[in-house]
Amino acid sequence: MTKYLHVLSIGVQNTLVYRVNFLFRAAFGLVPLMGTLYVWRAIYAGKADGEQIGAYTLSGMVSYYLLVNFVDALTAVAEDDWQIAADIKDGNISQFLLKPIDYLAYRLCLYLSGRAIYTGVALVPVAAFTYLLRADFTWPADAGTAGLFLLSVLMAGLIQFFLAYTLALLAFWVLDVSTFIFIQFAFEYLASGHLFPLDLLPAWLAQMLKLTPYPYLCWFPVSVYLGRVTGPELWTGLAIQAAWVVAGYALARHVWARGIRKYSAVGG
């Protein structure tokens, strides 16, 4: 176990190098968010006072986007998928096959440390921005909701990681995985509720999307926070999310096992 603690600390040290880059990334990322929020304000301005869109008031909508931004900082994969694909292509994983260290656990440690640092840095602009919009920002109803939100974010992070990991493993079979990563990301952007709350879609479509893991990456944790899913719906949601974590893990292990048979250690 201690060896993975070392990996964590190496991960922290490595990503700390990019702290300024992270700060820019987080600050620049606020620009499109502000643009989207202005458009929403313009839409609500054309409505009667207090009128709701998809059961969101203007404050609800603003909070939704701020929370998406927050969940994104906590869970998004930054460079992990590229690095994994590069490790495979350049033959770097050979050393992991020889050492008593598990590559998946190793990558997970790097992902976690990377996210910790990124969130730490991103917190500055994100908190400042949230403060500016505090009038429209809602706090969680109670400590229990906040706790469940964090649990849900943690699971979202794990699903996100397993998804990225599995996709990067395609590098065992294809030369360039970046197109696959971008295509997947486009779907994720829409289906996870990153672009807009899924409640705005026609009910049948939203229902269909909820059969995929995507809503559990973003829409679900945010809805937990906002108290939009409660009671039995909340518990089944968390159970489904946990099931996706397990499924993601199993898939990652399976694809790795298949890939390693194909692996020819080029350049290693």
Partner: protein
């Protein structure tokens, strides 16, 4: 005239090189087009979801906004076709010392670093963006006059110049910071607001900055407004043209200044 002909023939040679390069990875070439089309479709889906809950956003109807998104994408794809990869490569040229070699060649270095590679897939994507604009015009039951089309073309060119100059200016900073990856990512975020209707933004610091500082709110809004005859005043055209000229001028000054202070890396 002779110089122009020489540069044109140089560019033709770069074109041939790029075609050869791209065609050695045909599947990849097609997949990248698919990626870009998906992201374009995503923006259109976003707008249509918005318009399923409202009829007008700050005075823009659904198909007008589709036209705006199409125009923003058209300009962005042209920018990618001509410049994007080249500009992102500049920091690599600096880091690896390749720039030294380019500085020695008997051509304008800015021309070389800006246009070396051609992104062919983006021509197809910009054509798709034009097709979406044409469809939106048809849905609006609108036929632009020749003057409007010409005005659109000139303004789109000005928008393209703004994107190019600003991005060029940003990557020039890699003379000092070495890593320009964050810069590229940052600029992509700016594209995002270029496709939103400018009237949705209230007067204030945000709007002022993205009009007079980084004129993202002019880049695609003005061409579409010219095309649709939606201009508030002809001043908007002058403003985009003026900003394009200013951005280009500033980027050239900074580039020259940076080159004068360039001391080469490694090699």
């Amino acid at each position: 005239m002779k110089t122009l002909a020489r540069y044109l023939s140089l560019y033709a040679a770069m074109w041939r090189n790029s075609v050869t390069r791209e065609m050695s990875f045909k599947l990849n070439f097609v997949l990248w087009i698919v990626v870009e089309l998906l992201w374009f479709a995503l923006q259109l889906v976003f707008m249509s979801v918005l318009y399923s809950h409202t009829d007008s956003i700050a005075g823009w109807s659904k198909w007008e906004v589709v036209m705006l998104v199409g125009c923003a994408n058209f300009i962005q794809q042209l920018f990618t076709a001509f410049f994007l990869t080249n500009l992102t490569d500049i920091s690599e040229h600096i880091r690896t010392g390749k720039l030294d070699f380019m500085l020695l060649l008997p051509v304008n270095t800015r021309f070389l670093v800006s246009l070396r590679k051609v992104d062919l897939g983006s021509y197809i994507n910009s054509a798709c963006a034009l097709a979406v604009m044409a469809y939106a015009a048809w849905r609006l039951d609108f036929t632009p006059t020749a003057v409007q089309v010409a005005g659109f073309a000139v303004m789109a060119l000005a928008g393209l110049t703004v994107h190019y100059s600003l991005m060029f200016l940003l990557v020039t900073t890699s003379f000092w910071t070495v890593r320009a990856q964050g810069v590229v990512y940052g600029y992509y975020n700016l594209f995002n607001i270029a496709r939103l209707p400018d009237s949705a933004f209230p007067r204030g610091a945000f709007k002022a900055f993205f009009t007079f500082g980084l004129p993202m709110l002019l880049v695609s809004n003005v061409p579409v407004k010219v095309l649709l005859g939606k201009l508030g005043s002809p001043w908007e055209m002058a403003m985009l043209a003026g900003m394009a000229g200013a951005c280009l001028g500033v980027s050239e000054l900074v580039w020259r200044w940076s080159l004068r202070h360039y001391t080469s890396a490694s090699s």
